[in-house]
């Protein structure tokens, strides 16, 4: 273990860099940057454990300040981690000798409409990048985490797929240039930016280390601090701002006549999978996501009723669930998906509608009548286009974790859905810790543009972050689904994805611990390669253990720092 090297001189140096008001070691501030993952557990962290307390929290205001902070950390051998919107545990530090960088002061967005590019700083969230893009007839991919999440974090730090990925691609497909302070303090500008070609392209003639910085899943803050990125924007055929009607908090999109939102009801999972293939092939969807099923098969329609009526609340659920009309809707929508079509011209919309109807006919599916009601359709349009209501993920019980994560291939996953749903339903009936919502609470996007296969399935396990029994029971449930996943040869359960990068007590793994399990993975050479990358870019190993590294065989008993 490294010696504790954080000290008063270090703190004073931080003050000199960012000014006194932008750095703090007051416990009220530092305790605020500990992730308590049970209460907002989504995604991959220890449960009911606080991540370690940072020695200080610093708020840099420019790339130059970031560089100075990183150099200082290297000089004093103090760990650091940057995060922008802090939705999940991965943005928080993992050792006692660490400082947290909160990127909130860097929130600028610039739109280059001609070249269809947005240049974003870390605290520019999807919601603001999108409104600025729409003013120019453009739109951006917003990851499923929702529009309150940093576009940069999604693009540089994590996967970044969502409902719009079928039309606009996932984050790795949209990332052009990046301005990056490497873990040792060097500033690198990637892609054409690196050769003064501005932000135009992510690949050369400048350096193109995209694979190193983000790869497919992103490097979760382990490759230094990204200060600006450029993302590709996509056409938006709607108005400069989506008009909103309704009274708080029941809002509806108003007058988007060339945009249609449908919910498709399928006779079975085979039809569902086949339609996905056809949707992808026909290239007609603007957005595609299985969304409202995240509340659960038995309550999803009742939930939409609650959200679209400002006077309704969850205590109305039992009555709504007994309503014969709503029951009938749930029955029809057992296997369902939400699709948004957008017409760039009248003929375009007409063509897409016809192609859509034909696909439904071919697979024996139909459009849900419930979702054709004007208010409901307009609610869905607003929900999916803006992804403004991601906190609905938590609204039912205050916490949730996604589990299963069956497979990116719909033809592998679809045949397993009912078995997975039955496993969850049985748990709901025999345990009281997770919400009983009808077993199937799966949601996920249909596809990405780059290969048609980025289908992210995730069952929502809703639990109460105030109730310890509920916390532990949901954890036990995920252990059980992991067993099932292993039995089926499906790999890591979604709820355990990050189990190998942060210890259950909230701390980083040591290299020895990583070596002990990455030496046993099917392709250890990959983790060995990443070890070499880490050594080259991050010689002091200062950014935590989310980068999956295995000490190469030749060093394993020697150079284990």
């Amino acid at each position: 273990m490294k010696n504790i090297t954080y000290n008063k001189d270090f703190y004073r140096a931080l003050q000199d860099i960012v000014g006194e008001r932008n750095v703090s070691e007051d416990p009220a501030v530092t305790e605020n940057y500990r992730c308590i993952t049970a209460q907002s557990s989504a995604h991959y962290g220890p449960y009911d454990t606080r991540t370690p307390k940072p020695q200080a929290v610093v708020l840099p205001g420019s790339t130059e300040e970031v560089q100075q902070i990183v150099r200082l950390c290297n000089k004093y051998k103090v760990d650091f981690k940057a995060a922008s919107t802090f939705w999940a545990a991965m943005g928080f530090i993992g050792s006692d000798n660490a400082i947290q960088l909160d990127m909130i002061r860097m929130d600028n967005v610039e739109i280059d409409a001609k070249n269809m590019i947005a240049v974003c700083e870390p605290f520019a969230i999807g919601g603001t990048v999108q409104v600025e893009a729409m003013k120019n007839g453009l739109n951006c991919n917003i990851a499923g985490v929702g529009c309150s999440s940093s576009t940069l974090a999604g693009s540089a730090g994590w996967v970044g797929f969502g409902p719009s990925s079928i039309f606009m691609g996932i984050a790795s497909e949209n990332l052009l240039g990046a301005e990056w302070v490497l873990p040792d303090g060097e500033i690198i500008r990637t892609g054409t930016l690196g050769s003064d070609g501005e932000w135009f392209c992510g690949e050369g003639p400048g350096p193109s280390p995209r694979a190193i910085f983000r790869g497919w899943t992103g490097t979760a803050g382990t490759m230094g601090v990204c200060t600006r990125i450029a993302i590709r924007l996509h056409p938006w055929p709607g108005p400069k701002w989506i008009p909103v009607r309704g009274t708080a908090p029941a809002y509806f999109a108003d007058g988007l006549d060339n945009v249609r939102a449908y919910t498709v009801c399928y006779p079975d999972w085979d039809a569902y999978a086949e339609s996905f293939r056809l949707f992808y092939e026909a290239d007609i969807c603007y957005l595609a996501h299985r969304q409202f099923n995240m509340f659960g098969r038995d309550i999803k329609t009742a939930m939409v009723e609650i959200f679209t009526h400002p006077e309704k609340q969850f205590c109305d659920l039992p009555e709504l669930m007994e309503d014969p009309y709503i029951k009938e809707q749930n029955e029809q929508m057992k296997v369902d998906v939400q699709i948004v079509l957008a017409g760039f011209t009248e003929r375009d919309l007409d063509y897409k509608e016809k192609a859509f109807d034909e696909i439904l006919r071919q697979v024996g599916a139909h459009k849900s009548e419930y979702y054709l009601q004007q208010d409901i359709e307009d609610f869905v349009k607003l929900y999916l286009l803006r992804l403004a209501r991601k906190n609905y993920n938590y609204t039912l019980c205050s916490s949730y974790e996604g589990n299963f994560g069956l497979s990116p291939n719909v033809f592998v996953a679809a045949p397993l859905m009912e078995e997975a749903a039955a496993l969850k339903r049985e748990w709901e009936q025999t345990h009281t810790g997770v919400a009983a919502v009808g077993g199937d609470s799966d949601m996920g996007s249909v596809s990405g543009i780059g290969g048609g296969g980025t289908t992210g399935w995730e069952f929502f396990v809703h639990f109460d972050g105030f109730d310890k029994e509920s916390i532990y029971d949901s954890c036990a449930h995920i252990d059980r689904t992991q067993e099932w996943m292993t039995e089926k040869g499906l790999g890591a359960d979604f709820g355990r994805w990050n189990a190998d990068v942060r210890q259950p007590n909230g701390y980083n793994y040591t290299q020895e611990q990583h070596d002990s399990f990455y030496s046993k993975i099917p392709q250890p050479a990959l983790a060995e390669y990443q070890w070499k990358i880490r050594e080259a870019f991050n010689p002091n190993r200062l950014t935590g253990s989310y980068y999956k590294t295995l000490t190469p065989k030749e060093f394993r008993d020697g150079d284990n720092k």
Partner: protein, 443 residues
């Protein structure tokens, strides 16, 4: 001896009162950023997308409603943070403006961020940790029945001289409405003229109007916003006695702070009073034809929704329910709990009045109605931290200037004073007027 765990607490009955009652909410907050931004569907630009003045200004998460929930946990669960240092700084640098509350309730049904912010202030006050400037304000209230520094009880009635308003406090005369000016209108020399203007307009339209004469006092609401619950309650009870003696008339006030105090804060104490804001009454008078605005006012204006008339101006509903879990873990309330999400605030009445003025052109700012940006005078911040208060006001003036309007109009003396003279990010100020100024011009 091991401290009893906060997780073992028995469910609270009725609205939460003390800090401990909020512990489940502190745990159930989902760290979603809804209390840092205007509800995301309503954001119109990156520049004006934020909603919480406190975290916008100070940037550390601690200063957001989410951060305050976390702070509460740290205080209650393991004592890792105490009422000192930056904890106190954050606790009192909250405008009590409720923007976080509206943002949160767009998606959450079981959290009360604003009430929790106030509970933190109250606990700090109980522990004697309030800033000196706020202690002085509370002492002033107890002594002079006003919270304006330097003001004297004896001078309170000066504004009404020459108006011949019926004094209904002594029980001899009665009136349908009692005019309740609030401290700013009562004491501030410039604002006194506007109070007179309100009275003249209302009387001209035939409203049967009186006032409480020597019994007229501060509403005390701001003491509540600052965490001085004891002082607030004492003041509320004192007013209740005066009003009862005066025959419990309906109260009309031109001050949005007083409006909120009477409509919500008093109602929470069980003090029943029927209150309207003066602009609501004027809107009604225009609608019924009793007030006619004929003269053109050639001006383009933008309207600033005061927090306490808008999103916080919803009527209070008593509730003595408790929590109930259904479907194993779905958290709900029995019976249904009133949900103050800014839905039913007073937004249309002032706009209706402005629309009735010939020649006047209203251009809306980006953050309006339930998402209005606070003027910076809330929660006592203007008293003890003018730097913060001015920065918040400057942000609003910048937003107002972006509309191209020539003046800001509002319906609250605190907003008017705080926005007046403050310069925007371009270094220029903007005229700020009250609705009544334009009404008076149009008569």
């Amino acid at each position: 001896m091991a401290k009893k765990s906060m997780f073992d607490m028995t469910p609270v009955k009725g609205y939460e009162k003390k800090l401990e009652d909020f512990f489940p909410m502190e745990r159930r907050c989902s760290n979603c950023l809804g209390c840092k931004f205007v509800p995301f569907e309503k954001i119109k630009s990156n520049r004006f997308g934020r909603n919480c003045p406190s975290v916008w200004h100070y940037n550390f998460n601690l200063y957001s409603a989410r951060g305050r929930f976390q702070l509460g946990q740290n205080i209650l669960e393991d004592g890792s943070v105490r009422f000192e240092g930056q904890a106190l700084d954050a606790i009192f640098n909250c405008q009590a403006c409720g923007a976080c509350d509206v943002g949160c309730k767009v998606t959450r049904f079981n959290l009360e961020p604003l009430a929790h912010n106030i509970a933190l202030k109250e606990r700090a006050v109980e522990k004697g940790k309030a800033p000196d400037a706020l202690n002085a304000v509370a002492a002033q209230l107890a002594k002079q029945k006003t919270m304006l520094p330097g003001a004297k009880k004896a001078d309170r009635g000066a504004w009404a001289s020459g108006l011949k308003l019926k004094d209904i406090s002594v029980g001899k005369e009665t009136a349908e409405y009692a005019f309740f000016p609030g401290c700013q209108y009562a004491y501030d020399k410039d604002l006194q003229k506007k109070a007179k203007s309100y009275v003249s307009v209302l009387k001209k339209a035939g409203v049967d109007l009186g006032w409480f004469g020597k019994g007229d006092m501060c509403c005390g609401g701001r003491a509540g916003q600052m965490g001085f619950r004891k002082e607030f309650e004492a003041q509320a009870q004192a007013n209740a006695v005066v009003w009862k003696k005066a025959g419990a008339p309906k109260i009309v006030t031109p001050c949005s702070d007083c409006y909120y105090a009477l409509k919500r804060q008093y109602a929470m104490l069980g003090i029943e009073v029927e209150v309207v804001h003066a602009v609501e009454l004027i809107a009604e008078l225009i609608k019924s034809g009793k007030l006619k605005l004929k003269k053109a006012v050639d001006l383009s204006i933008t309207y600033h929704d005061p927090c306490r008339l808008g999103r916080l101006g919803e009527p209070f509903e008593p509730w003595d329910g408790t929590e109930k879990k259904i479907l194993n873990q779905v958290h709900t309330w029995t019976p249904a709990r009133p949900r103050y999400a800014g839905t039913y605030g007073i937004y249309d009445a002032p706009r209706d009045v402005l629309a009735a003025i010939p020649g006047l052109r209203l251009v809306e700012m980006e953050r309006v109605r339930e998402n209005s940006w606070c003027c910076g005078a809330g929660g006592g911040c203007s008293v003890f931290n003018p730097e913060f208060s001015d920065a918040v006001a400057s942000e609003r003036v910048t937003e107002a200037q972006a509309t191209g309007a020539e003046a800001i109009v509002t319906a609250c003396p605190w907003c008017e004073k705080n926005l007046s003279g403050v310069t925007s990010e371009n270094g220029t100020a903007m005229p700020v007027v009250d609705v009544i100024d334009l009404v008076a011009k149009a008569l």
